[in-house]
Symmetry: C3
Subunit: 326 residues, 3 copies
Amino acid sequence: MAANRTQSPHLPLGDRRDTAFYGQDILEVAQFRRADLSYIFGVAREMREMVERIGSFDLLKGKILASLFYEPSTRTASSFTAAMERLGGSVIPISEVRYSSVSKGESLPDTVRSLECYADVIVLRHPEVGAAKLAARYARKPIINAGDGIGEHPTQALLDLFTIVEESGRVDGLTITLLGDLKNGRTVHSLARLLSMYDVKLNFVSPESLAFPDKILAELDERGIPWEAHRELEEVLPRSDVLYVTRVQKERFDDPDHYARVKDAYVITPEILARARPQMVLMHPLPRVGEISMEVDTDPRAAYFRQMEYGMYVRMALLAMVLGKA
Amino acid sequence: MAANRTQSPHLPLGDRRDTAFYGQDILEVAQFRRADLSYIFGVAREMREMVERIGSFDLLKGKILASLFYEPSTRTASSFTAAMERLGGSVIPISEVRYSSVSKGESLPDTVRSLECYADVIVLRHPEVGAAKLAARYARKPIINAGDGIGEHPTQALLDLFTIVEESGRVDGLTITLLGDLKNGRTVHSLARLLSMYDVKLNFVSPESLAFPDKILAELDERGIPWEAHRELEEVLPRSDVLYVTRVQKERFDDPDHYARVKDAYVITPEILARARPQMVLMHPLPRVGEISMEVDTDPRAAYFRQMEYGMYVRMALLAMVLGKA
Amino acid sequence: MAANRTQSPHLPLGDRRDTAFYGQDILEVAQFRRADLSYIFGVAREMREMVERIGSFDLLKGKILASLFYEPSTRTASSFTAAMERLGGSVIPISEVRYSSVSKGESLPDTVRSLECYADVIVLRHPEVGAAKLAARYARKPIINAGDGIGEHPTQALLDLFTIVEESGRVDGLTITLLGDLKNGRTVHSLARLLSMYDVKLNFVSPESLAFPDKILAELDERGIPWEAHRELEEVLPRSDVLYVTRVQKERFDDPDHYARVKDAYVITPEILARARPQMVLMHPLPRVGEISMEVDTDPRAAYFRQMEYGMYVRMALLAMVLGKA
């Protein structure tokens, strides 16, 4: 959303819950206060109840979502499409950007200003950091950031947090362990920032070369969030309420021996889960490529497919909210 | 559909017609008994009547189909999309699989378990034999096989048979001639298996190197289906009630002279049709590349475009049935 | 639409306004008389009012559009998709033609005759001149030409003219200046032909090597349309009511110096606009790549994004009309 607004869309919304997010952009996790999150999750919970009861409904009937993906992401695009369709709305899918006028040199501002002539809201996936903010600066209609390079992917962070809330019944008081490549994963960075608004303990388990960034650790310190960094999962597994697993990509390692050594330590198997709490929530942003054994899938603690479903509810909530229908 | 069902979805359904196919997968022609076919075709006929009368209706309003195509097939994908849309449902199209997370190494079971978080039914096209069965083993929602390599393509076989039923008014008593490359075409293999449940005579016309497989001929013998193999169409054309033409691909021939010789013998022209029965049904799975002359298109016996339309009705019927709305 | 019609779809429609265009093809601007244009724009204006009031409505509920794009055009495809969805209809998107059965050698007539088994109307984009007419010769359902190579793109011409009508309140009496590459742009050729049905003055401003074609100038002479050809915009800018800017592609120039010289003369900046009329309408078919400075975007005369929106209304009107619902 471009100018002519009495309030920046990036400012926290305080307690104006009735019109919260109407016409606003969803660009980064920093735009949310804790009260915003409660509100979003409340709406997402209503979405879940409606879907479980009647599947779809016509809250956004007649509304059109432009799904503008400059790089492919089947999962995220499908999730937004399903969210819009379950609310009775329609989708203009634009995924062949590389073949089209866009790749002929048209600027992102021109593309979004064209698309908003047709659509009511634009979901944007783009390989460059800051693309969503740039789009929002020019667009009259709401922009939802569906990932801009190594920058932000706020709807992923929201669905991760919503999964924790729904599976654990709370966030305050939880010990949450993040595992894997914590250096490169924007997912865990954004999640940690959201979690820092709550009373949690964080554990970071990764090889030293893939450690969680100091910059965000400093932010956690500022907010008084206790955290520990570890190299071995077993040191923290028994006292974790949530275990969030991410992919360890071979290419990230300088030393192949190091990769071979840590890789197996970070694969979740039934044997490893045997040492975890009976109510622990096991999460993964998917796709996984070996980080969690398929034998674990039937364990009730395996929440990663439910996590996908929570994602649809969160996106339904966001779409309804920015379109003023929540 | 995965476990927790009192009955395997692959068992014939006997006479439980009221709940037939609800929540079931559509994987292979062997899962159908003759009574199943009658039931499916009855529903398909109702779909046809509704479409002819009012175009579309809201039987599946709010339902979402995930259309998961690991290889392109414009025709089949469009047919399922149209079927879902004419029933008031929505579609999540996933056709760029090669560019997406799926190609990053995610397993088919993970992909279908992710998609079923969003969708109510999954249509799967995959280049590997057995892919649909694998998907169905893991999925909670119904899987419809839209072709798995040289394996099965059950909805094509059903629409072929439905075309014969609708155009001829019956199946029992018919003489049906299959022409072209009968060795490699999964279409004619599946159709022959379905036809073997009826009282039919089958003619197979092909070059020797592209003959119908002995394995399926043995199945026909077991079921007491009379059949003849020929090299020349003219030997059986005058006594055929149905002529099903398939493509003869040059690449299949070892000897180019052989190809040049048989190719023309298998091209249907008005002159050839002059020797066929006045009520004969001329079919082709399309696309054709020269096997049937365009001059034949205006002949009332040319049923191949109507065949496409019957396909939509059959797919509407299957979607409604597996979603419990037939 | 194929034969069995009492009247050719390409003949002007005279004053049979009640059933105008029902079941007809939209192939080329030459098929329209001035009365047709008034009628189309009247319907487009109703579409605009409805969209501004309620966003979407169910005029084409249950109708299906096959969007068949043999070459990518995000903008045009999105516009038709939005138009269909805002009318409550559905879309079968077929944009991967190069990977599919079509590219396996299937003829365009076969493809459209297959698709019309599923859809109620077909929008066709094709790289070859005459493709839309060929498709229309075989199809039973209406074909809308969304661009066939350097041939026609009638819906673009209609939306350009509708933009002039809506922004200026009239066409008769206007002085309209076309700027840029006037040799290769089918857009300006079609627009000039439509404008020649009105009482207008035309200015053509281009480098000599990219001048407006003599053939169409002769047509203008025949119709008594006064026109002038210029090399410099400043000669005609102050007396222009409409300025239609097109892209000047470097590749079109034999002499790089020439390109460098004219290029800047043809870039619209706030300084240049200062010499234009206060009510002038500034248009561009988009995408632009530098022909209009982004600083101009906030000028109320900049109509190019509104032009996109008018395009959606024109396409809504055409879809409703050919489907008999206007």
